[in-house]
Every structure is written in structure tokens, then in C-alpha cells.
Symmetry: D2
Subunit: 221 residues, 4 copies
């Protein structure tokens, strides 16, 4: 009898523990991530895919995207929007505006400062034992003849992120690489948008699904 009770207590404890173990993932980024929590957004799609695998209840997915954000915007709001929510995992996806704003408002981010703020964010997260996944910026234009105006600079910042991933031991979700690969195969007419994006930058339905798929490959590895 005593053993049964003990067993019940153990079971309850374990169950409780499992409930407690629900992994909280925060997706930390810009307008692309802000849109990710909408009905067909990539974060919503990740939830649906987890559900299809029967493991939805193990995860708690939170979107923390704000339009126009650059790396130092993430830095400035990480206390409130990330650390205060005690995530187990943070997926950082930033970089498009750091490049784009050079052209549109003269306030892009210097490459060396981009790296410094990115590293500072990772250090603070890792110091709290948060697992950090990082993504390269996917696209500003989907043309496949290498004539998207900001391709060169975007490739430069993507390369910086790949180095950051390696140095900080962060799993890399190389969206820039897979977007390029997908476009080379599926954008034969060299269109500037409409393949994975609706407007050269933000994801269309296919793009949201594609990103969800790519992220899960790495997140569930």
C-alpha cells in the first residue's frame, strides 16, 4: 500500500515535472517574425507541424517580432521581451533592416557593430543557460540573376552571422542559403517576388511554410 502511494506520488511528480518541462521557444526578430504569429505565419505553421507530429504539448511558442527592428533594437529590448519571459530556447532572426535601412533611411548598421551587438545578445542569453539558434536573413528580392540591389551586402551580413554561429556554438538556420537554393530551382523567370515572399522581403504562404520546415529541421535535430 505504501509503495502504491509512493508510486502515485512519483508519477504525479514526474507528470508535474513534464508539465513544467514544456520548452518555451521565443522567436526574436523583426516584421517577418511579427507576422509569424498570424494565422498562416511561420510560427503558427511550426505549431501545426509539431501538432501533426504529436509533440505540440511539449512546446510553448512565443513570437517577439517588431517591425523595423535591427540588431541593436533587439539588444535594447531583450530584457523586457525575452529574458523576463524565461525561455528555454531563443531563435534570433534579424539582419534585413540592418542592411535595408542603409538605403531607405541612412541608418543601417555598420558590419562591425552588427557583430558586436549580435554577440552581446548571445552572451547574455547563454549566460542564462538559454539555447540560442540563429538565422541568416533570407532575402531582399528573389531575383536569381544576382541583381537584387542589396544582395552583396546581405551576403556579407549572412557571412558574419555564420561566423557568429560557429564562434558561439549556436545552431545555424541558414535561411539565406536555402532561399537562394529554392529560388534557383523555382524562380526560372527571375521574378523579384512572389516565390517565397509577397514583396521581396515578407513571407507569402509558401514562404511561411518553407521557413517553418527549415526551422524545425534544426530545432528538432
Amino acid at each position: 500500500m505504501k509503495k502504491m502511494i509512493l508510486f502515485g506520488v512519483l508519477l504525479a511528480t514526474t507528470g508535474f515535472t513534464m508539465f513544467q518541462q514544456k520548452k518555451r521557444i521565443i522567436f526574436f526578430g523583426d516584421s517577418i517574425t511579427q507576422a509569424g504569429v498570424q494565422p498562416k505565419g511561420y510560427i503558427t505553421r511550426i505549431g501545426e507541424k509539431l501538432e501533426a507530429k504529436g509533440i505540440k504539448e511539449q512546446y510553448d511558442l512565443i513570437g517577439a517580432g517588431i517591425g523595423g527592428n535591427k540588431v541593436y533594437d533587439l539588444y535594447l529590448r531583450m530584457e523586457d521581451d525575452v529574458l523576463a519571459k524565461n525561455p528555454d530556447i531563443v531563435v534570433i532572426w534579424v539582419g534585413v533592416n540592418d542592411v535595408w535601412h542603409k538605403r531607405t533611411s541612412g541608418t543601417g548598421t555598420d558590419a562591425d557593430k552588427f557583430e558586436r551587438f549580435y554577440n552581446a545578445i548571445i552572451k547574455k542569453l547563454q549566460a542564462r543557460n538559454i539555447k540560442v539558434f540563429i538565422c541568416t536573413p533570407a532575402a531582399i528580392g528573389e531575383k536569381t540573376d544576382f541583381s537584387n540591389e542589396l544582395d552583396g551586402d546581405l551576403n556579407k551580413y549572412a557571412a558574419i552571422i555564420r561566423t557568429i554561429a560557429e564562434k558561439n556554438n549556436c545552431p545555424l538556420i541558414d535561411l539565406r542559403a536555402v532561399f537562394l537554393q529554392y529560388n534557383l530551382a523555382n524562380n526560372k523567370n527571375n521574378k523579384e517576388s512572389g516565390i517565397l515572399t509577397s514583396d521581396r522581403v515578407h513571407l507569402n504562404e509558401k514562404g511561411n511554410d518553407f521557413v517553418a520546415e527549415e526551422m524545425l529541421k534544426i530545432l528538432l535535430k
Copy 2:
């Protein structure tokens, strides 16, 4: 008895020495401040003016200027270059590059981020009981017909700094205001440089002396 006297003397000496302990002032800024420690630089001139007043030994003047720095560069290096040196006073003079880099490299600083990083620096310094003086950016061009290309934006950032000074209770050294006043009186030919600057931005000999004088007015108030 002898011991007591000796002890008293020691105590008095130590006390006096401690009281006398030099006030450490760090000048924290960009290339203008980097040049400030040179033979005729404004920091050197402040030293000479303090000497003329017979109070040089009360101060320890340190230049912490790095060319090209914007407000978030100061933020990123304040631990190493300011806090580690335990200053009593910090004079922050930054802003020219935050505006100028919009034109020259597409990496100026958004006005709202300028304010946030500036406030973050002040908060960290004040939390250590460091007295913070802040300056408005002096000039990018000395023309007096209001046709210096970046005047409007520079006035905008100067206005932000005046608000920051008020909100954080920091004495303001309004270099932009006094430069304009001086130029209106002394630059009748509407020259773009050569009055207080050598190249529209960096100080010539007169400019260094002028800045030294204006800073001392506020520092010794």
C-alpha cells in the same frame, strides 16, 4: 603620547590627501575628442587654463575619444574606457557621426535609438555616482546662411540632447548654440570652415581654445 600624535598626524595627512585626491574627468567622445589631447587640443587647453588658475593639481584629465564613434560605440566601450578608470566626472560629446554617417555610409543613428543609447550610458554612469556633463554636437559646416547640408538634422539631434540633459539632470554644455552664435558674429563671409574648425567638423586652434573655455564655464560652475 608620541604615538598618539604620530597617529593624529598620519590621520590628518591621509585625510588631507584623500580630500585633496584629484578629481578624475574623462572626456568621452569621437575624433574631435581624440584630437583633444594633442598639444593644442581642447583637453590640453583645459589643463593649461586650470594651471593658470592654480588649480591644475586638483584634476586628472583623461581623453577617451575614438574617431568615427557614434553614441552606440560609446555604449559598447564604456565599461573598458570609462567605468574601469573610476572617473568622478564624465563629459560626453557625441553626435556628429550619428548624423554624418547617414550621408557618408548609410549607417547613421535613428533619432529614437540615439536617445535610448544616450540615456543608457547616463544611467550606468549615474548609478556609479559619476557626475555626467553632456555636450551638443558643435558643427558640420560653419556657414551662417543656414545652408550647411546637415544643419537641420544636427539641430534635431542637438534638441534631443538638450532634452536628455534636462530629464537626467546633467549640466549641458551647449556647444552647438555657442558655435552658431560665434559664427554669426565672426563668419561674415559665410565660409564653410576656418572659423572654429579646420574642415567643417574638427577644431582648429581657435576652436580648441573656444571649446576649452566653454567647457570650463560649466565644469567649474
Copy 3:
């Protein structure tokens, strides 16, 4: 027979009178002028004011504004949009985009090229005995504390236009000067728009009326 002669004389007189009296004025510019032909636009208002003075029938007012135009856009389309229509008078109003596009798309106009293309347009018009009136760009922002971001550059280009007017003997409609004057008197709260513009650049109803009035002062001098 007499009647026939009289009729012929009348016809000739009328024809001559009509030919003599109907002065064709083309307003040549950017989006501000494009909007000028709308119901409350400044060109429409000029027509109404001419009507109030009873001299409307002496003028034929034509709008030739295209959004986003810079000085070299005017140069490129002047054959089709101006010369082909045989105007007596051309009012050129350009410059806002030459300055603004530096910030928004990196494709503003160098000051020296601005002057060269402007002069080239005037030379071609004057070679056809067309009377040319030129305007300074009015505003990009209506703040009165000199902190509109592009004020300095706009003042620089306005100064270039004043020089062009003098050198080419073109009557000057100095909209920048009168806008500033009006705002200093009427924009006590330092608003960035809403006084003479709806959005810092384009004219609101008051602005359209104000411009019509200022243009007529010079056109009818």
C-alpha cells in the same frame, strides 16, 4: 462687298486679338505641380484668381507636373511636355526631390549637376523666346526651430536657384523664403506639417492658395 470686307477685318482683328491675348503658361514641376490642377490645387486657384480679376480669358494654364521628378527628369521630358505645346511662359518649380532622394533612395542630384541641368532647361526655353519664371523649393518639413532634417541642403539648393535666376534674368518666385516667413509667424507650436503642407511637402488647401497668390504677384508684375 463692304460687308465682306468688314467681316474680313473683324475676323483678322479677332484672330489677331485672340492670338495676342491668350498667353499660354505651363507649370513645369514635380508631384506638387501634378496636384496643382486638382479642384483646390494651386494652378486651379490661379485660374480662379485671374477670373476674379476679370482676366482669365487672357491666359491658358497648363499643368505639367509628374511625381518624383528631379531637375534632370524635367530636362529629359521638356521637348514633349513643354516645347511641343508652344508656351509663352514657363514656371519651373523643382528641387524637393533633388534633395529628398539623397535620403530616401540614394539618388538625389549633385549640386553642381542640379545647376547645369537647370541652366540647360532655361537656355532651351529662352532660345524659343519663352519667358521663364523659376521658384525655390518651398519645404520638406515646416518646423520653425530649424530642425527639419533636410533644411540645410534645401537652403543650399534654394540659394543655387536664386543665383540661376539672377544670371539668366528669370523672375524669381522665392517660395522657400515666403514659406519660412509664413511659418515663423503662424507655426508657433513648431509643427512639422499642417500649416501650408499636409505632409511636410505637399500643399494643403491654405498652401495651394498661398502659392497661387505668391506666383500671381510675380507673374502679373
Copy 4:
């Protein structure tokens, strides 16, 4: 008497021969072409290569490059610097500054205006029966991992030039294509300069020789 006739025939023949043989080629461009007439510059090298082939005396090579020129600078000075010199052939090489100035001074050239001014230059030259050869811009950075900041935009303008060449029936010297090809083969370490350029844009000795060779391939076809 016979001698006189013979002399006259000789004179006429020589004159005719000289007139027939001496083809005047003007190289019309920016700082790269300005440097092309220097001792090891690409125009000088073309002369040397023509000499080696024994056909130097058939050509008169003239450099007409000015630092910082964009397409509309060429347009503005083509009367004085090209047409006035009655060339048989004009080689136009422009585009680097049209892209680069977007970043460095906010005064690059809109893609559609680039095309319009380029076409206008060609039309004027062809109307004089001048044979026009056109070149794509070679490089702003020699990295081979597609991370030169302005690669995307440069590819875009190069694509525009290829279309212009086809539409106007101008032989194309596709320097961008051959530079990329050469760098992929010879710049294994992904250096940003030092392969064909000295500073990412201007030609080093190898680059000048390479351009001379590529131009001759098309010029002598």
C-alpha cells in the same frame, strides 16, 4: 609636267590613305579611363598591343575620362569632349559611380534615368555615324563569395547596359562578366582587391592589361 601630275596623284593617294586609315577612337568614361592614358594605363596598353600587331598607325587613341563621372556627366560634356573631336569610334565605359554614389553621397543615378541618358548619348553619337562600343562596369570589390556590398546593384546596371547594347546594335565589351570569370579562377582567397584592381575599383597593372586585351578582342573583331 608628268612629274607634277605624278606628284599630285601621290599626294592625293597619300592623303586619301591617311584619311582612310587613321581611325580616331575616343575612350569616354570616369576615373578608370582618366587613368587609362597613364604609362601603364589600359589605353596606353591598347596602343602598345596595336603596335605589336603593326597596326598602330591606323589608330588615333584619345582618352576622355574624368573622375567621378556618372552617365549624365558624360551626357553633359559629350559635345565638347567627344563630338568636337570627330571620332570614328567611341568606347563608353561608365556605371561604377552611378551605383557607388548612392552609398557615398546619396547622388547615384536612378536605374531608369541611367538607361535614358545612356540611350541619349548613343543616339547622338550614332546620328553622326560614329560607331559606339559600350562596356559593363567591371567591379566594386573583387570578392568571389558574392559579398561585395554593391554587387547586386552593379549586376542590375550591367544587365541594363547589356539590353542597351542589344537595342542600339552596339558591340558589347562585357567587362563585368570577364572580371567575374577571372576572379573566380584567380582569387581563391576571396580578397576584396589586388587581383585586377588596386582598390576594389581602379585597375592595377594586370587589370589594365586585361581590359586592353578584352577591348581589343571586340574592337578588332
